[in-house]
Symmetry: C2
Subunit: 210 residues, 2 copies
Amino acid sequence: MKTVKEGEVRRREILVAARELFVNKGYDQTSINDILKIVDIAKGTFYYYFTSKEEVLEAIILDIVEEGARRAEKIVKDKSIPLVSRIMMAIMAQTPEFEGSDEIKEEIHKVENAKLEHLYVRAMLKRMTPILQEPVLEGIDQGIFHMDYPIECTESILLLGHMMFDCNVMEFKDEEFPRKIQAFLCNAERMLGTKEGELQEFMRMFGQLS
Amino acid sequence: MKTVKEGEVRRREILVAARELFVNKGYDQTSINDILKIVDIAKGTFYYYFTSKEEVLEAIILDIVEEGARRAEKIVKDKSIPLVSRIMMAIMAQTPEFEGSDEIKEEIHKVENAKLEHLYVRAMLKRMTPILQEPVLEGIDQGIFHMDYPIECTESILLLGHMMFDCNVMEFKDEEFPRKIQAFLCNAERMLGTKEGELQEFMRMFGQLS
């Protein structure tokens, strides 16, 4: 048992060191040797945990999803926040937002790394959809939302939000941004089956993030 | 002028030969030399048009989007088809559906090729959104649809349809498929602001494709 735990600690050390290097030096400029030096391990030890630098980045992305999911979970559990705000804030809280996140975010969203983007979306949907189910069902119970497919509705809103605003598939200009958010909120309202304008106040939240 | 035209013809010959090879031999198993042999050109001529095998595949994907867009355009222009059917049929007609398409489709959707998937989505949205604008606006005029953001609504439906059913981001089981289509049609109805059940008949169309 002790060995398993030590193994997990070692793996963590590699991830922490790599993340710092990726953020500060950049992913391309970081070599496996750079990581070895910081963690102070032999190459063989590294390859016991990971088969490549890319695999390290993949593990970091899954960590990022997990961190975002935990922030979202915390918000969802906070019943002092009004229901609709709870949902919208949870969706926005899961967006990668850690120190130096821009570097890794950029790495994820580079067209060459679309594979990582894929990995991110898949992991994000898997982790976030169940988290949002609770408040969505609560909203249905309270008669604020009306829908027959709560899981698919949640998936679709997460998916659309990500595709529209978090990755680089859409190529819209800065001045188009407010309209795209308006449209997104309007589509989310309709999918949730809530009354028109219910999500309008979240324009501001998006505005602050942009 | 003659030279430009000849250049385009040569480029086409390369694309046609490569596409056939990718479909029959598989992308990985096809070498640039295989392409040279069929088109009967020197390596230098190939590199005048393309920098790599991957660039050839990218051009083929853009061709696929263009072919799909033309099929969709034809349907959209056919006013003998009822409006809502015109839109749904156009959306479905743009899905790659040519001889041997499975091979290239698989290549696009392999996780390793997520970059190509990205390229496909971007090109598809750019080409398809304007095509669908006409019937969508017609539907608004006729009072069948009700929405403030027709462009964004069209983008969102195309994006969701693609993410849910055409690429391998969602990992649902076969038995979940009917429910996912139902939910997609329901969300599309709501975004279009049309009456509940309006798109229900398209369950069959999806059913046939699956």
